[in-house]
Protein backbone atom coordinates (compact mmCIF):
# COMPACT_ATOMS: atom_id res chain seq x y z
CA UNK A 1 0.00 0.00 0.00
CA UNK A 2 2.75 2.41 1.07
CA UNK A 3 4.74 1.48 -2.02
CA UNK A 4 1.75 2.22 -4.25
CA UNK A 5 1.25 5.62 -2.62
CA UNK A 6 4.96 6.36 -2.96
CA UNK A 7 4.85 5.39 -6.65
CA UNK A 8 1.81 7.60 -7.15
CA UNK A 9 3.62 10.46 -5.40
CA UNK A 10 6.66 9.99 -7.60
CA UNK A 11 4.51 10.13 -10.72
CA UNK A 12 2.82 13.27 -9.44
CA UNK A 13 6.13 15.00 -8.70
CA UNK A 14 7.47 13.88 -12.10
CA UNK A 15 4.40 15.41 -13.76
CA UNK A 16 4.82 18.68 -11.84
CA UNK A 17 8.53 18.76 -12.71
CA UNK A 18 7.65 18.16 -16.39
CA UNK A 19 5.14 21.03 -16.37
CA UNK A 20 7.74 23.29 -14.71
CA UNK A 21 10.44 22.37 -17.24
CA UNK A 22 8.01 22.88 -20.13
CA UNK A 23 6.99 26.28 -18.73
CA UNK A 24 10.67 27.31 -18.51
CA UNK A 25 11.13 26.11 -22.10
CA UNK A 26 8.17 28.27 -23.20
CA UNK A 27 9.67 31.34 -21.47
CA UNK A 28 13.04 30.60 -23.07
CA UNK A 29 11.36 30.33 -26.48
CA UNK A 30 9.66 33.70 -26.01
CA UNK A 31 12.98 35.28 -24.98
CA UNK A 32 14.66 33.70 -28.02
CA UNK A 33 11.99 35.16 -30.32
CA UNK A 34 12.59 38.65 -28.93
CA UNK A 35 16.37 38.36 -29.37
CA UNK A 36 16.24 37.11 -32.97
CA UNK A 37 18.32 39.33 -35.30
CA UNK A 38 16.99 40.41 -38.71
CA UNK A 39 19.22 38.06 -40.73
CA UNK A 40 18.20 35.19 -38.42
CA UNK A 41 14.55 36.02 -39.07
CA UNK A 42 15.06 35.33 -42.78
CA UNK A 43 16.46 31.88 -42.01
CA UNK A 44 13.69 31.01 -39.56
CA UNK A 45 11.04 32.23 -42.02
CA UNK A 46 12.44 29.95 -44.69
CA UNK A 47 12.37 26.96 -42.32
CA UNK A 48 8.89 27.99 -41.17
CA UNK A 49 7.60 27.87 -44.75
CA UNK A 50 9.12 24.40 -45.16
CA UNK A 51 7.33 23.35 -41.99
CA UNK A 52 4.01 24.72 -43.26
CA UNK A 53 4.48 22.78 -46.50
CA UNK A 54 5.10 19.56 -44.59
CA UNK A 55 2.67 20.10 -41.73
CA UNK A 56 -0.24 21.80 -43.48
CA UNK A 57 -0.14 21.28 -47.25
CA UNK A 58 0.81 17.61 -47.12
CA UNK A 59 -1.88 16.99 -44.48
CA UNK A 60 -4.71 18.52 -46.55
CA UNK A 61 -5.95 15.19 -48.03
CA UNK A 62 -5.99 13.59 -44.56
CA UNK A 63 -7.96 16.46 -43.04
CA UNK A 64 -10.45 16.52 -45.94
CA UNK A 65 -10.97 12.76 -45.57
CA UNK A 66 -11.39 12.90 -41.77
CA UNK A 67 -13.68 15.90 -41.83
CA UNK A 68 -15.75 14.81 -44.82
CA UNK A 69 -16.45 11.31 -43.55
CA UNK A 70 -17.12 12.38 -39.96
CA UNK A 71 -19.47 15.17 -40.94
CA UNK A 72 -21.29 13.13 -43.60
CA UNK A 73 -21.92 10.23 -41.21
CA UNK A 74 -22.95 12.43 -38.28
CA UNK A 75 -25.31 14.65 -40.27
CA UNK A 76 -26.82 11.68 -42.17
CA UNK A 77 -27.69 9.98 -38.88
CA UNK A 78 -28.88 13.24 -37.34
CA UNK A 79 -31.19 14.14 -40.25
CA UNK A 80 -32.85 10.73 -40.02
CA UNK A 81 -33.10 10.44 -36.24
CA UNK A 82 -33.89 14.08 -35.43
CA UNK A 83 -36.29 14.18 -38.41
CA UNK A 84 -38.35 11.43 -36.79
CA UNK A 85 -38.59 13.52 -33.63
CA UNK A 86 -39.34 16.69 -35.60
CA UNK A 87 -36.25 18.38 -34.24
CA UNK A 88 -34.25 18.93 -37.43
CA UNK A 89 -33.29 22.46 -36.33
CA UNK A 90 -30.96 20.81 -33.78
CA UNK A 91 -28.79 19.71 -36.69
CA UNK A 92 -27.45 23.27 -36.78
CA UNK A 93 -26.37 23.16 -33.14
CA UNK A 94 -24.91 19.69 -33.67
CA UNK A 95 -22.90 20.93 -36.63
CA UNK A 96 -21.71 24.12 -34.95
CA UNK A 97 -21.05 22.90 -31.40
CA UNK A 98 -20.00 19.30 -31.95
CA UNK A 99 -18.12 19.57 -35.23
CA UNK A 100 -17.08 23.17 -35.92
CA UNK A 101 -16.30 24.21 -32.35
CA UNK A 102 -15.18 21.01 -30.61
CA UNK A 103 -14.31 18.12 -32.93
CA UNK A 104 -12.84 20.21 -35.73
CA UNK A 105 -9.99 21.75 -33.75
CA UNK A 106 -9.54 18.62 -31.61
CA UNK A 107 -9.32 16.08 -34.44
CA UNK A 108 -7.18 18.40 -36.55
CA UNK A 109 -4.77 18.89 -33.64
CA UNK A 110 -4.62 15.14 -32.96
CA UNK A 111 -3.92 14.39 -36.63
CA UNK A 112 -1.16 17.03 -36.78
CA UNK A 113 0.33 15.90 -33.45
CA UNK A 114 0.47 12.32 -34.67
CA UNK A 115 1.87 13.24 -38.04
CA UNK A 116 4.11 16.26 -37.49
CA UNK A 117 4.65 16.29 -33.71
CA UNK A 118 6.50 13.00 -33.92
CA UNK A 119 8.51 14.30 -36.88
CA UNK A 120 9.53 17.46 -35.00
CA UNK A 121 10.62 15.49 -31.93
CA UNK A 122 12.51 12.95 -34.04
CA UNK A 123 14.22 15.67 -36.09
CA UNK A 124 15.37 17.65 -33.08
CA UNK A 125 16.47 14.54 -31.18
CA UNK A 126 18.47 13.56 -34.28
CA UNK A 127 20.02 17.04 -34.42
CA UNK A 128 21.06 16.50 -30.81
CA UNK A 129 22.37 12.97 -31.41
CA UNK A 130 24.46 14.20 -34.36
CA UNK A 131 26.09 16.85 -32.15
CA UNK A 132 24.49 19.72 -34.09
CA UNK A 133 22.83 21.23 -31.01
CA UNK A 134 26.15 21.09 -29.16
CA UNK A 135 27.87 22.76 -32.13
CA UNK A 136 25.21 25.50 -32.32
CA UNK A 137 25.63 26.34 -28.65
CA UNK A 138 29.40 26.20 -29.00
CA UNK A 139 29.18 28.80 -31.79
CA UNK A 140 27.06 31.06 -29.61
CA UNK A 141 23.80 30.34 -31.44
CA UNK A 142 20.72 29.70 -29.35
CA UNK A 143 19.36 26.34 -30.66
CA UNK A 144 15.87 27.50 -29.75
CA UNK A 145 16.14 30.34 -32.26
CA UNK A 146 17.27 28.12 -35.10
CA UNK A 147 15.42 24.89 -34.33
CA UNK A 148 12.33 25.66 -32.24
CA UNK A 149 11.00 29.05 -33.37
CA UNK A 150 10.37 28.07 -37.02
CA UNK A 151 8.74 24.81 -35.97
CA UNK A 152 6.55 26.60 -33.45
CA UNK A 153 5.52 29.20 -36.03
CA UNK A 154 4.94 26.50 -38.64
CA UNK A 155 2.77 24.45 -36.27
CA UNK A 156 0.63 27.48 -35.32
CA UNK A 157 0.07 28.56 -38.94
CA UNK A 158 -0.59 24.96 -40.04
CA UNK A 159 -3.06 24.04 -37.30
CA UNK A 160 -4.93 27.33 -37.75
CA UNK A 161 -5.23 26.75 -41.50
CA UNK A 162 -6.15 23.09 -41.16
CA UNK A 163 -8.82 23.80 -38.52
CA UNK A 164 -10.48 26.30 -40.85
CA UNK A 165 -10.24 23.75 -43.68
CA UNK A 166 -11.69 21.00 -41.46
CA UNK A 167 -14.67 23.18 -40.53
CA UNK A 168 -15.34 24.28 -44.12
CA UNK A 169 -15.19 20.70 -45.40
CA UNK A 170 -17.40 19.56 -42.50
CA UNK A 171 -20.06 22.14 -43.34
CA UNK A 172 -19.85 21.17 -47.03
CA UNK A 173 -20.05 17.43 -46.29
CA UNK A 174 -22.96 18.10 -43.92
CA UNK A 175 -24.72 19.89 -46.77
CA UNK A 176 -24.28 16.83 -49.03
CA UNK A 177 -25.46 14.52 -46.22
CA UNK A 178 -28.57 16.65 -45.68
CA UNK A 179 -29.36 16.57 -49.40
CA UNK A 180 -28.79 12.80 -49.54
CA UNK A 181 -31.24 12.34 -46.71
CA UNK A 182 -34.04 14.43 -48.16
CA UNK A 183 -33.43 17.82 -46.53
CA UNK A 184 -33.32 20.84 -48.80
CA UNK A 185 -30.06 22.67 -49.13
CA UNK A 186 -31.67 25.99 -48.27
CA UNK A 187 -33.08 24.56 -45.04
CA UNK A 188 -29.69 23.12 -44.06
CA UNK A 189 -27.94 26.42 -44.77
CA UNK A 190 -30.58 28.32 -42.77
CA UNK A 191 -30.28 26.00 -39.74
CA UNK A 192 -26.48 26.11 -39.72
CA UNK A 193 -26.17 29.89 -40.15
CA UNK A 194 -28.82 30.50 -37.47
CA UNK A 195 -26.86 28.32 -35.06
CA UNK A 196 -23.51 29.98 -35.77
CA UNK A 197 -22.62 32.70 -33.28
CA UNK A 198 -19.74 35.17 -33.14
CA UNK A 199 -18.30 33.14 -30.26
CA UNK A 200 -18.08 30.05 -32.47
CA UNK A 201 -16.28 32.06 -35.11
CA UNK A 202 -13.49 33.33 -32.81
CA UNK A 203 -13.29 30.22 -30.67
CA UNK A 204 -12.23 28.02 -33.58
CA UNK A 205 -9.06 29.99 -34.46
CA UNK A 206 -8.35 30.54 -30.75
CA UNK A 207 -8.28 26.78 -30.28
CA UNK A 208 -6.21 26.40 -33.44
CA UNK A 209 -3.68 28.85 -31.99
CA UNK A 210 -3.53 27.09 -28.62
CA UNK A 211 -3.26 23.61 -30.13
CA UNK A 212 -0.68 24.82 -32.64
CA UNK A 213 1.45 26.16 -29.79
CA UNK A 214 1.22 22.81 -28.01
CA UNK A 215 2.23 20.91 -31.16
CA UNK A 216 5.12 23.30 -31.78
CA UNK A 217 6.44 23.40 -28.22
CA UNK A 218 5.89 19.99 -26.63
CA UNK A 219 7.63 17.87 -29.31
CA UNK A 220 10.46 20.44 -29.55
CA UNK A 221 10.89 20.27 -25.79
CA UNK A 222 11.07 16.46 -25.85
CA UNK A 223 13.37 16.44 -28.88
CA UNK A 224 15.88 18.76 -27.23
CA UNK A 225 15.74 17.44 -23.67
CA UNK A 226 16.01 13.74 -24.36
CA UNK A 227 19.52 12.19 -24.09
CA UNK A 228 21.80 12.86 -27.06
CA UNK A 229 22.18 9.30 -28.35
CA UNK A 230 20.61 7.80 -31.51
CA UNK A 231 18.68 5.28 -29.39
CA UNK A 232 16.83 8.13 -27.68
CA UNK A 233 15.28 9.41 -30.94
CA UNK A 234 12.29 7.00 -30.89
CA UNK A 235 11.89 7.62 -27.15
CA UNK A 236 11.63 11.36 -27.79
CA UNK A 237 9.05 10.81 -30.56
CA UNK A 238 6.93 8.50 -28.46
CA UNK A 239 7.03 10.75 -25.38
CA UNK A 240 6.30 13.80 -27.50
CA UNK A 241 3.19 12.41 -29.16
CA UNK A 242 1.73 11.10 -25.89
CA UNK A 243 2.45 14.37 -24.06
CA UNK A 244 1.04 16.42 -26.96
CA UNK A 245 -2.20 14.42 -27.04
CA UNK A 246 -2.64 14.73 -23.27
CA UNK A 247 -1.90 18.47 -23.41
CA UNK A 248 -4.36 18.96 -26.31
CA UNK A 249 -7.18 17.20 -24.42
CA UNK A 250 -6.40 19.15 -21.22
CA UNK A 251 -6.39 22.39 -23.18
CA UNK A 252 -9.70 21.51 -24.87
CA UNK A 253 -11.17 20.81 -21.41
CA UNK A 254 -9.84 24.12 -20.16
CA UNK A 255 -11.58 25.95 -23.02
CA UNK A 256 -14.88 24.32 -22.04
CA UNK A 257 -14.37 25.14 -18.34
CA UNK A 258 -13.43 28.77 -18.93
CA UNK A 259 -16.12 29.47 -21.52
CA UNK A 260 -18.93 27.47 -19.96
Amino acid sequence: MAASIAALGRRATDAVAWVGALARFCVRTLAAARALPRAGRRVTTRILLDQVRFTALQAVPLIILLSGILSFLLISQAVRELGRLGATELIGRLMVIAIVRELGPLLTALAVAGRSGTAIAAELATNKALGEVHALEGMGIDPVQYLVLPRLGGAIVSVLGLVVLFDLVAIGAGFLAALANGMSGARYAEIVTDSLSFRDVWLTPAKGLAFGMIIGLVPSFHGLTVGGRPTTVPIASSQAVVASIVAIFLCAGLFVLVLL
Binding site: H134, G138, M139
Partner: protein, 225 residues
Amino acid sequence: MNEHPLRFEDIVLPGWPDAPMALDVTAHQAVAVLGSDASGVDQLAAYALALQAPPAGRVLVHGRDLATLPYREALAARRAVGYLPADDGLLHNLTLSENVALPLRFGSRLTETQIRSRVGVILAQLRLADVGVRRPADATGEQRRRAALARALAFDPDLVLLEHPFDGLTDRDAAELLELARGGESAAGSRRTVFIIGPYLPPSLRARVESRFRLHRGRLESEEG
Protein backbone atom coordinates in the same frame (compact mmCIF):
# COMPACT_ATOMS: atom_id res chain seq x y z
CA MET B 1 44.64 41.55 -25.36
CA ASN B 2 44.57 39.24 -22.35
CA GLU B 3 47.96 37.60 -21.75
CA HIS B 4 46.21 34.29 -21.13
CA PRO B 5 42.94 34.24 -23.10
CA LEU B 6 42.28 30.71 -21.83
CA ARG B 7 42.99 29.48 -18.29
CA PHE B 8 42.10 26.15 -16.75
CA GLU B 9 42.10 26.52 -12.96
CA ASP B 10 42.25 23.25 -11.00
CA ILE B 11 39.94 21.44 -13.38
CA VAL B 12 39.07 17.92 -12.32
CA LEU B 13 38.44 15.56 -15.22
CA PRO B 14 35.96 12.68 -14.99
CA GLY B 15 37.62 9.61 -13.50
CA TRP B 16 40.57 11.54 -12.02
CA PRO B 17 39.21 13.25 -8.88
CA ASP B 18 42.61 13.48 -7.19
CA ALA B 19 44.43 15.13 -10.08
CA PRO B 20 43.28 18.73 -10.59
CA MET B 21 44.67 20.19 -13.79
CA ALA B 22 45.82 23.76 -14.37
CA LEU B 23 46.93 25.32 -17.63
CA ASP B 24 47.42 28.89 -18.83
CA VAL B 25 47.22 29.20 -22.59
CA THR B 26 49.47 32.05 -23.65
CA ALA B 27 48.21 34.54 -26.20
CA HIS B 28 49.52 34.33 -29.77
CA GLN B 29 50.60 30.73 -29.36
CA ALA B 30 49.35 27.40 -30.61
CA VAL B 31 48.97 25.06 -27.63
CA ALA B 32 48.10 21.38 -27.94
CA VAL B 33 46.78 19.08 -25.23
CA LEU B 34 46.88 15.50 -26.42
CA GLY B 35 45.44 12.40 -24.86
CA SER B 36 43.37 9.29 -25.34
CA ASP B 37 39.59 9.15 -24.96
CA ALA B 38 40.01 7.88 -21.40
CA SER B 39 42.17 10.85 -20.43
CA GLY B 40 39.19 13.22 -20.51
CA VAL B 41 40.92 15.52 -22.99
CA ASP B 42 37.76 15.71 -25.11
CA GLN B 43 35.94 17.54 -22.31
CA LEU B 44 38.27 20.54 -22.23
CA ALA B 45 36.60 22.61 -24.97
CA ALA B 46 33.13 21.87 -23.59
CA TYR B 47 34.31 23.04 -20.16
CA ALA B 48 35.87 26.18 -21.61
CA LEU B 49 32.67 27.10 -23.46
CA ALA B 50 30.50 26.12 -20.47
CA LEU B 51 28.69 23.51 -22.57
CA GLN B 52 29.41 21.12 -19.71
CA ALA B 53 30.34 21.72 -16.11
CA PRO B 54 33.56 20.12 -14.82
CA PRO B 55 33.31 18.10 -11.58
CA ALA B 56 35.48 20.81 -9.96
CA GLY B 57 37.50 23.86 -10.94
CA ARG B 58 36.76 26.56 -13.45
CA VAL B 59 37.84 27.80 -16.87
CA LEU B 60 38.39 31.45 -17.69
CA VAL B 61 37.95 32.58 -21.29
CA HIS B 62 39.16 36.13 -21.85
CA GLY B 63 39.17 36.42 -18.05
CA ARG B 64 35.56 35.33 -17.60
CA ASP B 65 34.06 32.07 -16.37
CA LEU B 66 31.31 31.49 -18.95
CA ALA B 67 29.51 29.08 -16.63
CA THR B 68 28.64 31.96 -14.30
CA LEU B 69 27.18 34.19 -17.02
CA PRO B 70 23.47 34.48 -17.86
CA TYR B 71 22.55 32.35 -20.90
CA ARG B 72 22.51 35.14 -23.51
CA GLU B 73 25.76 36.66 -22.20
CA ALA B 74 27.37 33.22 -22.33
CA LEU B 75 26.23 32.86 -25.97
CA ALA B 76 27.76 36.25 -26.80
CA ALA B 77 31.00 35.30 -25.03
CA ARG B 78 31.17 32.03 -27.03
CA ARG B 79 30.95 34.02 -30.24
CA ALA B 80 34.27 35.63 -29.31
CA VAL B 81 35.83 32.15 -29.51
CA GLY B 82 36.15 30.09 -32.67
CA TYR B 83 35.09 26.50 -32.04
CA LEU B 84 35.71 23.53 -34.30
CA PRO B 85 33.94 20.51 -32.74
CA ALA B 86 35.35 17.01 -33.04
CA ASP B 87 32.71 15.79 -35.50
CA ASP B 88 32.65 19.11 -37.42
CA GLY B 89 29.11 19.83 -36.16
CA LEU B 90 27.96 21.01 -39.59
CA LEU B 91 24.22 21.14 -40.04
CA HIS B 92 23.37 18.51 -42.64
CA ASN B 93 20.34 20.29 -44.08
CA LEU B 94 22.39 23.40 -44.95
CA THR B 95 25.01 23.90 -47.63
CA LEU B 96 28.63 24.52 -46.58
CA SER B 97 28.16 28.19 -47.40
CA GLU B 98 24.97 28.43 -45.31
CA ASN B 99 26.76 26.68 -42.45
CA VAL B 100 29.48 29.34 -42.52
CA ALA B 101 26.87 32.11 -42.64
CA LEU B 102 24.83 30.68 -39.76
CA PRO B 103 26.72 32.26 -36.82
CA LEU B 104 26.73 35.61 -38.60
CA ARG B 105 22.98 35.41 -39.26
CA PHE B 106 22.08 34.51 -35.68
CA GLY B 107 24.87 36.18 -33.78
CA SER B 108 25.39 39.55 -35.42
CA ARG B 109 23.49 42.59 -36.59
CA LEU B 110 25.06 42.44 -40.05
CA THR B 111 22.79 42.83 -43.07
CA GLU B 112 22.31 39.95 -45.49
CA THR B 113 24.52 41.69 -48.05
CA GLN B 114 27.33 42.13 -45.51
CA ILE B 115 26.98 38.49 -44.45
CA ARG B 116 27.15 37.21 -48.04
CA SER B 117 30.22 39.34 -48.66
CA ARG B 118 31.96 38.12 -45.49
CA VAL B 119 31.11 34.48 -46.23
CA GLY B 120 32.45 34.86 -49.77
CA VAL B 121 35.78 36.12 -48.42
CA ILE B 122 36.08 33.33 -45.83
CA LEU B 123 35.17 30.62 -48.35
CA ALA B 124 37.77 31.95 -50.77
CA GLN B 125 40.40 31.99 -47.99
CA LEU B 126 39.66 28.38 -47.17
CA ARG B 127 39.50 27.30 -50.81
CA LEU B 128 35.82 26.43 -50.56
CA ALA B 129 34.38 28.95 -53.00
CA ASP B 130 33.66 26.27 -55.63
CA VAL B 131 32.02 23.81 -53.25
CA GLY B 132 30.07 26.22 -51.04
CA VAL B 133 26.77 25.07 -52.53
CA ARG B 134 27.37 21.44 -51.51
CA ARG B 135 25.74 19.94 -48.48
CA PRO B 136 28.06 18.26 -45.94
CA ALA B 137 27.00 14.80 -47.14
CA ASP B 138 28.19 15.66 -50.67
CA ALA B 139 31.53 17.12 -49.55
CA THR B 140 34.77 15.29 -48.77
CA GLY B 141 35.99 14.95 -45.19
CA GLU B 142 38.65 17.57 -45.83
CA GLN B 143 36.11 20.02 -47.28
CA ARG B 144 33.84 19.47 -44.28
CA ARG B 145 36.73 20.19 -41.91
CA ARG B 146 37.60 23.34 -43.83
CA ALA B 147 33.95 24.45 -43.74
CA ALA B 148 33.80 23.81 -39.99
CA LEU B 149 36.96 25.89 -39.56
CA ALA B 150 35.53 28.61 -41.83
CA ARG B 151 32.46 28.73 -39.59
CA ALA B 152 34.67 28.90 -36.49
CA LEU B 153 36.52 31.87 -38.01
CA ALA B 154 33.37 33.69 -39.13
CA PHE B 155 33.69 36.34 -36.41
CA ASP B 156 37.49 36.49 -36.82
CA PRO B 157 38.06 35.49 -33.18
CA ASP B 158 41.41 35.89 -31.42
CA LEU B 159 41.04 32.50 -29.70
CA VAL B 160 40.26 29.27 -31.54
CA LEU B 161 39.48 25.89 -29.96
CA LEU B 162 40.07 22.94 -32.26
CA GLU B 163 38.83 19.48 -31.27
CA HIS B 164 40.45 16.59 -33.17
CA PRO B 165 41.26 18.98 -36.02
CA PHE B 166 43.68 16.73 -37.90
CA ASP B 167 41.82 13.41 -37.78
CA GLY B 168 41.73 11.87 -41.25
CA LEU B 169 43.70 14.69 -42.91
CA THR B 170 46.95 14.35 -44.82
CA ASP B 171 49.96 16.12 -43.28
CA ARG B 172 49.76 18.78 -45.98
CA ASP B 173 46.07 19.49 -45.35
CA ALA B 174 46.65 19.44 -41.59
CA ALA B 175 49.49 21.97 -41.94
CA GLU B 176 47.34 24.24 -44.08
CA LEU B 177 44.45 24.02 -41.63
CA LEU B 178 46.74 24.92 -38.73
CA GLU B 179 48.11 27.94 -40.61
CA LEU B 180 44.57 29.13 -41.39
CA ALA B 181 43.65 28.75 -37.73
CA ARG B 182 46.76 30.70 -36.68
CA GLY B 183 45.66 33.46 -39.04
CA GLY B 184 49.13 34.63 -39.99
CA GLU B 185 51.96 35.92 -37.87
CA SER B 186 52.32 39.00 -35.69
CA ALA B 187 55.28 40.31 -33.72
CA ALA B 188 54.09 38.35 -30.68
CA GLY B 189 53.56 35.07 -32.53
CA SER B 190 50.49 33.83 -34.35
CA ARG B 191 47.68 36.36 -34.89
CA ARG B 192 45.25 34.06 -33.10
CA THR B 193 45.68 31.91 -30.02
CA VAL B 194 45.02 28.32 -31.02
CA PHE B 195 44.11 25.60 -28.52
CA ILE B 196 44.26 22.10 -30.00
CA ILE B 197 42.70 19.07 -28.35
CA GLY B 198 43.00 15.57 -29.71
CA PRO B 199 44.66 12.20 -29.57
CA TYR B 200 47.74 13.12 -31.60
CA LEU B 201 49.61 15.85 -33.43
CA PRO B 202 51.20 15.04 -36.81
CA PRO B 203 55.01 15.20 -36.34
CA SER B 204 55.30 17.68 -39.20
CA LEU B 205 53.25 20.22 -37.23
CA ARG B 206 55.25 20.11 -33.99
CA ALA B 207 57.40 23.05 -34.98
CA ARG B 208 54.28 25.19 -35.52
CA VAL B 209 52.76 24.37 -32.12
CA GLU B 210 54.60 26.33 -29.44
CA SER B 211 53.45 24.30 -26.41
CA ARG B 212 52.51 20.65 -26.36
CA PHE B 213 51.16 18.68 -23.42
CA ARG B 214 49.97 15.14 -22.92
CA LEU B 215 47.15 14.47 -20.52
CA HIS B 216 47.89 11.32 -18.58
CA ARG B 217 45.82 10.08 -15.62
CA GLY B 218 44.34 13.52 -15.16
CA ARG B 219 47.73 15.29 -15.09
CA LEU B 220 49.41 17.38 -17.76
CA GLU B 221 52.88 16.39 -18.86
CA SER B 222 54.87 18.70 -21.09
CA GLU B 223 56.06 17.31 -24.42
CA GLU B 224 58.55 20.11 -24.97
CA GLY B 225 61.87 19.26 -26.49
